[in-house]
Symmetry: C2
Subunit: 639 residues, 2 copies
């Protein structure tokens, strides 16, 4: 077990991430509060508190937007007090509390619209999903403020849920996983084993033959979310049907018992939250078998079903996974929430195993698939993160289904929690982000001060101050992208073993400086030959960043460029551009257009190419300037 | 003017085409009659004849299926009498005649369903389109049988139409062009100038500011085809709206007066029929200006908006043209009817100009974009003709909108009419198809007997027998694909000038043999750099044929092959395959898969390729074996 150091123990001071985190704090959190008001999300709580009925705004799971915002805002408060924000958070907490029914039940959609429909449509109506986000918000709020009011609300609702699912004739799991991992968090602040038991129950009941989802699909005419005469396809259960109209549980990972699952399937956010919850449970219960299943799933995902950006889930129709190697680019769904979910899951795998492969994937996802999800100004968001655009895909201020924006806000606000780990003996540095952390490692008080220009250079400097001078290992991840790594301690080059992807510097630390250099070269990569969408194409990476071409930087239509695979890329850091980014440029080849007067097809051996400079910018920064086409995968020189 | 020799003057005897034409005669015509019965098309005429109302089967323009079938069957009867077919044709003619209203009006949809809605929805309800097909069928039937009964019906309906549109306050054109060219045909059998006048009126009224289509869109709630409370998007006028919901006439080529049109726009079948009609009118009236407009449109189409198969119209939503260079492959619509329409138009351009470029395009379209539309067994048809398939696009026995099958039947049955031309002095050979023709050229009786193995070899032998020994030129098209042409007359090599793409052999003909050799090499071609869909790809051609890869012939997924652009292609004629085709094979390059164990992305410079043989079959023959992926455009070696 490599416990993560909490984000409240980490003081961020990073040239790359801190401005984004500050934008999140100063702009996004307030902006999203306004959106909660404008979208009617808070009004739904008010109406429920006032005993209203009938009128309801937005999606039936919209309560969760408020909960995720509460969680994000609580994280902000935990790092830096802000009286105005505190007041606003308290006000929303009061609203939520007031909307709770006397029996502990809390879901404004059901209270206002379908009071008789509770628990009849687990797979799509999201009562348990919303409960999970309430619990996460409550735990965050409790930790940030010490207050119990939201925690009491959450525990009251969980009591209610426990009672409902205690009925032996009523087996059911959350259609959208989330409560599982939340219950483990609740256990962590309360030490109440029954929360683990309930989470375990939800994991175990899923995907068995007689599951509740199948019953719901078969009786869709009497469950919540359906009006009279509605066809099954027209209601929220339609996603549970396969092409033949038969029940198919894979959408919610209910196609098989968890232990028998071998591939990441269905709705990708659901899948990530389930795996995170299972990993949490396994951690708390010190079980290894679920970890083996999770590792198989991880291999399936990372070797067959993941974009080079760390994004996952190509298909819009069910927001999820399809088949091995289906990694279409322009139509890529790659939901921002799914990238966030992947970070959650991988962090738990990392904590359990200390294997750097999980930290590598977290890094890839944070810098690319996740970060693209939020515009530089902090007020616009991608729901889908395609790897190619003809120019018509843009961030939006809010969404009918607004799951992604507050999800991103909570990750930004807690990013410090992904940097460091402690296995009881050694101190792990998972991610290199400028920050200071004070902690205790095996009884030794340690201050660590990390400075770096990542992702723009591969140099990292770590100042270590240990009070006692006792020995412990500093375990420093060697990023998978490093083309060559050098380590100096106090100016002296050292040789250090790499274990599970971490350089182990085991010594008596007093007041020392470690200088790491991870060689960053521009790499062109190809996708597996089975990936049809990327056939003949290459992607350009440098360090943890995936790059892309945007039309605004390039003269030719993007499909005309052929990139060299061993070209001399020029790296130009431009402080004036996109908040400060390193731009790549290289001589590429393009068709010689002078040959093409008035002909649509010509013999291939009579067509030629010429040189043209092509410019690439980091993928995370795309669509922050003039709208236009974008491509991550670009035609590449052949082998 | 290069008048085409009629198909009744041409006796087909071709190894490639005759079996297809025979399948059309012996299988398709009867099969399609059964489909007319099954789809309720004939029943609609019976119901109308019996004064029924209300009940109607199928599409509102379904009468046209019967008319196109009548035209095709009449062409068959014109070349070879068949008492059973004659009886069946007479029976359908009687049915049609019986369904005509006393005032000459004839459209079973309106008679049965919306008797009060006549002429209120010209743009979509197709009364004039159906009238056009009635006229074409009537002319064909008259020419084939000498009988007048269908001609009388058609002329009665045209009289009615003439009266309706004589109203000065009622300006309107066919929403789906077709009647224009049909009226010219009617003029040709009747010599009545008023039919040309009416056709000219329909051409001239189109696309002017105050056109009827705009009125119809603005008053959609009171026109045929709309139910009470129907939104405009839900009815047939929706296609006339642009993205902003404003009227946009381009769907029916009504965005501008014809003379001002510069690009092929809108529904591609409509466009082709309009251009054919305009060319017909210009021919009969000896006007050259419309030809200039048509030539501009032809250049726009062939240089920017046409598939390598001759197919046109990439977009399914409006079955038509989009923008320059939008030539998407898997989603290509490329309707079979549009390819047929292109043949019609190009034949008229050829007749007017004697320029081989039109004959070249007819050849490309016939062998590829058209021929793929009909399965080898003659009972299955493509509506769309994509240039790539992931394996789920297949021919069908019939369609709700069944325009294509009988359209193909009438082209097969009249194919002999596309081979030869006569400009009064010389005899033109446009297409090399084994056949015999007896005609008179400038007063000289000539028998021509053509033998060839095209498309499999480029050798053509022509026996010329002229009764008088007078001199005239035999004008022999040099196909655009010929890589080298040799001509021998009576075994002696001759040098002959090429004029407008035709070798002119001007001599006294008595009993002579001409041997032509058109060098056929395998060519890989590229598309114009602006065609994004084909970037980095090549298509393989040999002679007039475009080839494709089908999964069933190849071990690797098709996207993995990289074709050489100067490879040594092996040509293997396989009589046992697909009715007898020449198969191409070549050493291509594919990814070395052994390098890819458990990785999804790898550095490009660590990936390699290996050799693999790839096999291509003619595009027209695809989807006649095991279903599977297909590609015309395949990754090509770089320049």
């Amino acid at each position: 077990m490599v416990d993560s150091l909490g984000f409240t123990d980490v003081e961020m001071d990073d040239a790359f991430w801190s401005p984004r985190i500050e934008t999140n704090r100063a702009v996004t959190i307030e902006y999203q509060y306004d959106q909660l008001e404008e979208s009617g999300t808070l009004e739904n709580f008010r109406r429920a508190a006032e005993g209203g009925s009938g009128e309801f705004s937005g999606m039936w799971f919209q309560d969760s937007d408020a909960y995720k915002w509460l969680e994000a805002a609580s994280y902000v408060l935990a790092t830096e007090d802000d009286p105005d924000l505190r007041e606003r958070v308290d006000e929303v907490v009061d609203l939520v509390a007031a909307a709770q029914d006397d029996d502990g039940y809390l879901n404004t959609y059901f209270t206002l619209v379908e009071p008789d429909g509770r628990w009849t449509n687990l797979h799509m109506m999201h009562e348990l999903y919303c409960a999970g986000h309430l619990v996460e918000a409550a735990v965050a709020n409790h930790r940030a403020t010490g207050g119990d009011s939201l925690l009491d609300v959450a525990m009251g609702f969980v009591d209610h849920i426990e009672a409902v699912f205690a009925d032996e004739d009523f087996d059911g799991a959350p259609g959208h996983e989330e409560l599982e991992l939340a219950l483990v968090e609740l256990y962590r602040v309360t030490d109440e084993e029954r929360y683990l038991d309930l989470a375990q129950y939800f994991v175990d009941v899923r995907g068995h033959d007689a599951d509740r989802f199948r019953w719901e699909v078969e009786h869709y005419d009497r469950i919540a979310g359906y009006g009279e005469g509605k066809a099954i396809e027209d209601g929220p259960a339609g996603t549970f049907l396969d092409d033949e109209g038969e029940y198919d549980g894979s959408y919610a990972q209910a196609h098989a018992p968890f232990d028998d699952q071998e591939a990441v399937e269905g709705h990708s956010v659901r899948a990530m939250y389930l795996y995170a919850g299972v990993a949490d449970l396994a951690m708390e219960r010190e079980e290894t078998e679920p970890l083996d299943v999770l590792d198989d799933l991880w291999h399936n995902m990372t070797e067959r079903r993941m974009y080079v950006t760390g994004g996952i889930g190509p298909e819009a129709a069910h927001e999820g996974f399809t088949e091995d190697y289906d990694l279409r680019n322009e139509d890529a769904y790659a939901e921002t929430c799914a990238a966030i979910g992947s970070v959650f899951w991988n962090q738990r795998m990392l904590e359990r195993t200390g294997d750097a492969k999980y930290a590598d994937l977290i890094e890839r996802t944070l810098y690319n698939g996740f970060l693209a999800g939020v515009g530089l100004e902090g007020k616009e968001f991608f729901y889908e993160n395609p790897l190619e655009s003809s120019g018509d895909h843009h961030r939006k201020g809010w969404f009918t289904c607004a799951c992604c924006p507050p999800n991103a806000a909570r990750l930004f606000a807690s990013l410090g929690g992904y940097l460091y780990g402690d296995d009881g003996d050694d101190l792990f540095v998972h991610q290199y982000v400028g920050s200071r952390v004070s902690t205790e490692v095996g009884g030794t008080a340690v201050d660590l001060d990390v400075e770096t220009d990542l992702p723009w250079s591969g140099d990292v400097s770590l100042d270590v101050t240990a009070s006692e001078g006792e020995s412990f290992a500093l375990r420093l991840r060697v990023p998978a992208w490093s083309e060559g790594t050098t380590v100096e301690v106090n100016g002296e080059s050292v040789d250090a073993a790499v274990e599970d992807g971490y350089l182990a510097l085991d010594r008596e630390w007093t007041d020392d400086t470690v200088e790491l250099t991870f060689e960053q070269t521009v790499q062109t990569v190809r996708a597996h030959p089975a990936v049809e969408a990327d056939a003949g194409l290459v992607a350009v990476e440098r360090g943890p960043l995936v790059y892309c071409l945007e039309a605004t930087d390039n003269d030719r239509p993007l499909h005309q460029y052929v990139l060299p695979t061993d070209g001399e890329y020029e790296v130009d850091h431009r402080e004036d551009l996109l908040g400060g980014v390193s731009v790549l440029s290289v001589e590429a080849r393009v068709p010689d257009r002078s040959e093409w007067e008035g002909e649509l097809y010509r013999p291939a051996d009579e067509t030629g190419q010429e040189d043209a400079t092509v410019t690439a910018v980091p993928y995370f920064a795309w669509d922050n300037r003039e709208p236009g086409p974008m491509r991550v995968w670009v035609r590449g020189e052949q082998q």
